[in-house]
């Protein structure tokens, strides 16, 4: 997943986020490498505290203080200029956090929806106002004359007017399936139900035609029936507007339905990545394997669920070697607790951070046995 090809939208290289707090240093994200492809959905899965939300914040260059971010986050932005397509490389991590440029990207090229749709909307503004504000800030209409429309050679753009913004808002609310959009455009957040608010959030996020939508647990606070509605809506919209989604969740079912590729995170580290089908059918990392086995599945009666022994370690006091070794069923004493594993290729387009697959690690009989078992 490392080569930069034409369909790469965002590439993250060696991303690290560190917090120096009173009780010590926390590596919230510790060396993340992945790529978000145009029009595809990348799922990031992990338990609480694994750094998945922080990764999303890093893409928006919104790491909260006193966090320190290192590594590369590159956005490959497509433009049409003079009739030909060019790709602009923008290093998001190097932009000024409060500068003009990043603010154009936030809410414009990259938008975000959150878990709690109530607190993400300002209670004193109507649903339509929120969309109109985003549209006015980030959407520009071409100034066209007759000659220009013939050649599609557009030089200048203008901001949308208030009436146009309102029309766009109603149109967007219709697209996200809000009934009576023309009236609902003036309703306030408290007049909407949880599912409707999340629809409004999606409408805001999509109104600026983003290249990437970051969805941070967008359905966790919703009921199953509403969750199904929202997931379906997101899939439909993605097909029509050609946008990439970074889908952050802890729910295996949701990620299986939504994502094309996925990244599994544990204690700030990427432990496995690959296509969703490969990982679900053939998980390589012991953590992924256990995680998949530990969820009760509807329509399948398991006598006993697999468990991961112990609990997540304190972020101030991470285990040596592989961070997962104290809980790992395939723990190799003297190896896993000493050597920090690197992300190794385990299959075509599938990488895992485990010594069993590390090419630098001699293929001992022991490792072979464990591999066979897996």
């Amino acid at each position: 997943m490392n080569e930069i090809t034409d369909d790469v939208l965002v590439s993250i290289r060696d991303l690290r986020i560190r917090f120096d707090v009173r009780d010590g240093i926390v590596n919230a994200v510790d060396g993340a490498n992945f790529t978000i492809r145009r029009g595809k959905t990348l799922g990031v899965i992990g338990e609480s505290g694994c750094g998945k939300s922080m990764t999303a914040k890093a893409i928006m260059n919104m790491v909260p203080k006193p966090g320190i971010m290192t590594g590369e986050v590159t956005l490959y932005k497509r433009h049409v200029e003079n009739g030909s397509q060019i790709v602009e490389e923008i290093r998001l991590d190097q932009l000024d956090k409060d500068g003009e440029e990043i603010r154009k990207i936030r809410g414009g090229t990259i938008t975000m929806i959150f878990q709690e749709p109530m607190s993400s909307l300002t209670p004193v503004f109507s649903a339509g106002f929120h969309i109109m504000e985003a549209v006015k800030l980030h959407r520009f209409l071409p100034i066209e004359s007759i000659g220009e429309t013939m050649t599609r050679n557009i030089q200048k753009k203008r901001q949308v007017s208030l009436e146009e913004a309102r029309e766009i808002a109603i149109d967007m609310l219709q697209k996200v399936g809000l009934p009576n959009a023309a009236q609902r455009v003036d309703s306030y957040p408290h007049q909407l139900s949880g599912g409707q608010r999340q629809r409004v959030m999606i409408a805001i996020a999509l109104s600026t035609h983003p290249d990437l939508l970051i969805a941070d647990e967008p359905t966790t606070a919703l009921d199953v029936s509403i969750e199904a509605q929202i997931l379906d809506l997101m899939r439909e919209l993605q097909e029509t507007v050609d946008m990439a989604i970074l889908f952050i969740t802890h729910n295996m079912g949701v990620i299986a339905e939504m994502a094309d590729e996925m990244v599994v995170m544990y204690m700030g580290k990427e432990v496995e990545e690959g296509s969703v089908i490969d990982i679900f059918e053939n998980p390589k990392h012991p953590y992924t394997r256990l995680l998949l086995a530990s969820i009760p599945e509807i329509g399948e009666k398991k006598r006993e669920l697999a468990t991961i022994k112990g609990m997540t370690p304190s972020p101030f006091d991470l285990p040596t070697g592989c961070v997962f070794h104290p809980r790992c069923p395939d723990f190799m004493p003297g190896k896993c607790d000493v050597v920090k594993p690197l992300l190794a290729t385990v299959a075509k387009n599938q990488n895992a951070r485990c010594l069993m697959y590390d090419p630098c690690w001699p293929d001992t009989a022991e490792a072979q046995a464990i591999k066979a078992k897996a």
Binding site: D223, V224, S225, A256, P296, G299, L305, T312
Partner: protein, 349 residues
């Protein structure tokens, strides 16, 4: 109190009939009651000894309220709750009592037989008390603290997978899963017959959730416990329950043995709900029944069948007449006018 007229089964431990809990809506200057939220409206179910009854539904369906109303933590508006109590009987043999007719003192005695586990592993433990104080609180309340109490607490801790040295610690020193274990140990302190589990795993991480579910299953066998397992997650409920009751806006839509309910649902709501659950299988056909609109407002419910505005099989009758919970097949109840007539799809077992 030995009126067993309606109870078919010798093993029944708790029977709930026509349970109602209405919360008044007040308005205006004088706080006049302008209406009621029918949080629980005419709910009927029963729990057998040593059995887990899953109570599943979306938020606001009244599952939590029903659990609390059974224990009279919320005083029910109407209905009957009959329970085969061990603690209240003088003969030593369990005796049927009607919880709503008990006075305060008797009810307190019955609370030795019924206990609760709560959703929030942080909020349900008093942060100012040590683990020892938390677990012995039920014992203190029932004057059961003696010289062996500490030993008893240590045994409970070990049984739920904590260590004896944890006894003097405070809740904030534990992780979410461990806190939930403390809550479970507390609920076992009085050796109950029935535990009402109110969303006990919904605040936990996936791996911890599995540990907790396994623990609950083990304890059930060891102590011959019955659970009322209140949850919104259909896959968790399916995993842990022997029988499942699906609730929708204060009423039971369907109740049956777990595998039967999941594989052959008789109520359209159950069918749609199950098809809504995201399946951890990327190759599964992404085809499902989308329920339009939102869950009905219990303060302003639609006429007729509460589910009719979202039902794909809706008929004229559904908009007028409220369906009763009927036994369609042996031990399989559904509240739908057309239950048994519709061809509904379950999940493969």
């Amino acid at each position: 109190m030995a009126d067993n007229g309606n109870v078919k089964d010798e093993n029944i431990l708790l029977e709930v009939k026509g349970l109602k809990k209405y919360f008044p809506i007040t308005g205006g200057m004088m706080r006049k009651v302008v209406g009621y939220v029918k949080a629980v409206d005419d709910v009927n179910f029963f729990v057998r000894e040593g059995e887990t009854l899953g109570l599943v539904g979306e938020s606001g369906c009244g599952k939590t309220t029903a659990g609390r109303a059974v224990m009279r933590l919320y005083e029910p508006t109407d209905g009957e709750v009959r329970f085969k109590s061990r603690a209240l009987s003088k003969s030593g043999k369990p005796e049927w009592v009607s919880l709503r007719e008990l006075n305060k003192e008797q009810l307190k005695t019955v609370y030795q037989d019924i206990s609760m586990i709560f959703q929030d592993p942080i909020g349900s433990l008093n942060p100012r008390m040590t683990v020892y104080d938390i677990i012995t609180e039920p014992l203190l309340i029932h004057n059961k603290v003696g010289p062996n109490t500490e030993e008893h607490v240590i045994q409970l801790l070990q049984r739920v997978g904590l260590r004896p040295e944890h006894i003097r610690r405070y809740p904030h020193e534990f992780s979410g899963g461990q806190r939930q274990r403390i809550g479970i140990a507390r609920s076992l302190a009085l050796n109950p017959q029935l535990i009402i589990c109110d969303e006990p795993v919904s605040a936990l991480d996936v791996s911890v959730q599995a540990q907790t579910l396994n623990l609950l299953n083990d304890l059930k066998e060891d102590f011959n416990l019955a659970y009322i397992f209140v949850a919104h997650d259909l896959s968790v409920v399916q995993h842990i329950s022997d029988r499942v009751a699906v609730m929708y806006v204060g009423r039971i839509a369907e109740m049956a043995e777990s595998i039967e309910l999941y594989s052959q649902p008789l109520h359209p709501y159950t069918e749609a709900l199950m098809s809504s659950v995201p399946r951890p299988n990327p190759r599964a056909k992404k085809q499902r029944i989308i329920m339009e609109g939102d869950v009905a407002d219990p303060g302003n419910p639609p006429p007729g069948c509460l589910f009719h505005p979202r039902c794909r099989y809706v008929q004229e009758k559904c908009k007028i007449e409220v369906p009763e919970l009927r036994e369609i097949k042996p031990d399989h109840y559904a509240a739908c006018h057309f239950a048994g007539e519709l061809d509904l799809k379950g999940v493969a077992m």
